[in-house]
Symmetry: C2
Subunit: 194 residues, 2 copies
């Protein structure tokens, strides 16, 4: 029982044997209630959380809170890889439009193509709704760039502004510690200083 | 639901908001089965794991595997703070005796006294069983030292050898990186070189 709980914890990302053991002993020795609560929360979430029918993020309801929020503009659509990315952008407070979650990136070798990322749904959305701008906010990785490129190609058939979030030196970051690719990006993406 | 699962994960030691979120999204997006399995393992363990009646470690049975193992000598008793410590010592393969788990350390300010650490049981054990050596393997912290000192005092009434595990430079460790207390301990605990 202790061993199978250990193994079940090891299935979590970034949790190895030592960490799993710490979790198990903590719950058994100090917080059995916490263990029961975690079990209940797990079953609840696994059974009831589904994907928003509109933006594909994780949601307890048919449509998520952002999609049903009328105070947010529907003319901007920010394309992200995961629901966590939405959370990150929301915390910045710099965006008031809607989202579309790919749940991954294009990876033909793993069998993840346009259909798996819901790009058909996205195309349908662009065809039927009045979207004026697509913001490509996939990660700044090779896979993210490829995916962004593919989506921008797909969107060209529509009369839509297509943008990509800026890449460069992070705010508070020092040039000295930035990697060469970031510096190259920051230079080529330089803007007029006003 | 997502939020309460997040919070339930945050109750685990060393798990903050970001890590909890990673767990939640991983399970929801990629491994719902893993989520159900973790829930089941949690309930099983929380309901059925209890403490060994003899050594107080966590055990699924009345007596743990070590206490019921007749190949292990009962004349040596190693006193540790937690069941994890047993696991660590067992992995070293250097000990073939029995254990006694305190489940903590003396901390009068938190209301943790001799009774909470099971020292009455330990005294009873020493009175009734033929223990020849007590190995104090509490942590090398102030609390661990105080607890070891208390237990050694308690055991003086019996005709028993009382030892403390050695403290010094870890094997593979470099003197340069050891802290001053460890170095002081290593010097004062030096042995004749043979």
């Amino acid at each position: 029982m202790i061993e199978s709980l250990n193994q079940a914890f090891c299935a979590l990302p970034g949790v190895g044997k030592k960490t799993a053991q710490r979790f198990v002993y903590h719950l058994l020795e100090r917080d059995r209630n916490g263990g029961f609560e975690l079990a209940k929360a797990l079953v609840d979430a696994m059974e009831h959380v589904k994907h928003c029918a509109s933006c594909r993020t994780l949601s307890e309801k048919e449509l998520c809170n952002i999609c049903t929020n009328n105070n947010r503009t529907s003319t901007q659509l920010c394309i992200v890889e995961t629901p966590t990315d939405i959370h990150a952008i929301e915390q910045s407070g710099a965006y008031k439009g809607k989202y579309f979650v790919l749940s991954g990136y294009l990876s033909p070798i793993d069998g993840i193509g346009a259909a798996e990322l819901g790009l058909d749904e996205l195309e349908q959305k662009l065809r039927t709704q009045s979207v004026e701008e697509i913001i490509l906010a996939t990660n700044a990785t090779i896979e993210g760039e490829v995916t962004a490129h593919y989506i921008s190609n797909m969107c060209k058939q529509f009369n839509i502004r297509i943008t990509r979030i800026a890449h460069g030196i992070p705010i508070g970051g020092e040039l000295e510690y930035a990697d060469i690719n970031t510096i190259a990006h920051a230079l080529s993406g330089r803007k007029d200083y006003d």
